[in-house]
C-alpha cells in the first residue's frame, strides 16, 4: 500500500520522492510503524496568508517556526506550506485528527541535514510510544509540498 502511494506521487513529483520512500522504509524497519502523508498547494497557502494575515501563521505555528519562516522572506509561503503539510501528516500518522490538537503542539524543526518534528502537550501525550524515531520528509514539486511523517513504535512488532 505504502509503495503504491509513493509510486503515485513519484510519477508527478520526481525521483526525490523515491529516495524519501526508501528513507521512510529504513526508519520504520521491522517495528510497528505509523505513516502520515499530506500534500498542499503553495499558492493556496499564500492565499490564506493574504486573507487572514498574521493570524494564519500564528494559529498554526510556534514562535520558533514563525521565526524560521521569517528568516527566509522570499520563500515564506513555501516554508509555511511545509509546516502545514508536516503538521497534517503528523496528525494522520499519530491518529490525532479527532483528538483536538493545537497545531502548535506539533513543531517542525530545521536541523542540520534535514527536518525534525517535535511533539508537545497533548500531541506528545496522546501519541505515546509511537512518537519515537519520528522522521519528517518534505518534497517539493510543481507548486506543491508533500510531507511524509514516519514513526516506529518503541516496541517491536508482535
Amino acid at each position: 500500500m505504502l509503495k503504491t502511494v509513493f509510486a503515485k506521487f513519484a510519477r508527478t513529483m520526481g525521483p526525490e520522492l523515491l529516495l524519501s520512500a526508501e528513507a521512510a522504509r529504513a526508519v520504520v524497519g521491522g517495528r510497528r510503524s505509523r505513516v502520515g502523508i499530506d500534500v498542499v498547494q503553495v499558492s493556496r497557502i499564500a492565499e490564506s496568508a493574504a486573507r487572514f494575515g498574521d493570524r494564519f501563521a500564528e494559529r498554526l505555528c510556534t514562535a520558533q517556526e514563525r521565526a524560521d519562516i521569517a528568516a527566509e522572506p522570499a520563500q515564506a509561503h513555501e516554508r509555511l506550506a511545509e509546516r502545514f503539510a508536516a503538521k497534517e501528516a503528523a496528525l494522520k500518522a499519530f491518529d490525532l485528527c479527532e483528538s483536538g490538537i493545537d497545531w502548535r503542539d506539533i513543531e517542525v524543526q530545521s536541523r542540520p541535514g534535514g527536518w525534525g518534528l517535535a511533539l508537545h502537550g497533548r500531541a506528545a501525550a496522546l501519541s505515546g510510544d509511537s512518537a519515537t524515531d519520528v522522521s519528517l520528509l518534505l518534497s517539493h514539486g510543481d507548486g506543491h509540498v508533500l510531507a511524509v511523517v514516519a514513526a516506529a513504535a518503541a516496541r517491536p512488532q508482535s
Binding site: S48, F52, R59
Partner: protein, 91 residues
C-alpha cells in the same frame, strides 16, 4: 468584523463555506448533514473556514474543538459555534 444582525448563523456558515470551503456542491443549498469533506473540503480549507468564522464572530475555537468532525457538516459547525461564548444569542 461583526455579521449584520439579520444574518443568521446558518447563513453565515454557508457564506463562509462559499467563500473559503472550496466545495464542489453549492454551499448555500447543501444539506445540513452532508459531509463537507466528501463534498471537496480539504484540511487546509477547513482551517480557512475556521479562521473566517472566528473573524466574523470574534470568537476562537478552543483546542478541544480543533478536530475534523467539528467541521464535517453545517450541523456540526453550528453545534460547535453554539458552544462558544459570544455566539449563544445568535440564531
Amino acid at each position: 468584523m461583526n455579521p449584520p444582525d439579520s444574518l443568521t448563523i446558518d447563513k453565515l456558515i454557508r457564506t463562509v463555506l462559499r467563500d473559503h470551503g472550496r466545495l464542489q456542491k453549492d454551499p448555500l443549498t447543501i444539506a445540513d448533514r452532508d459531509d463537507l469533506f466528501q463534498a471537496g473540503m480539504t484540511s487546509h480549507s477547513s482551517v480557512n473556514v475556521m479562521l473566517a468564522l472566528e473573524g466574523a464572530l470574534d470568537v476562537e475555537f478552543p483546542d478541544h474543538m480543533l478536530k475534523r468532525s467539528v467541521f464535517a457538516s453545517v450541523n456540526a459547525i453550528r453545534e460547535a459555534l453554539s458552544q462558544l461564548p459570544g455566539t449563544r444569542g445568535l440564531q
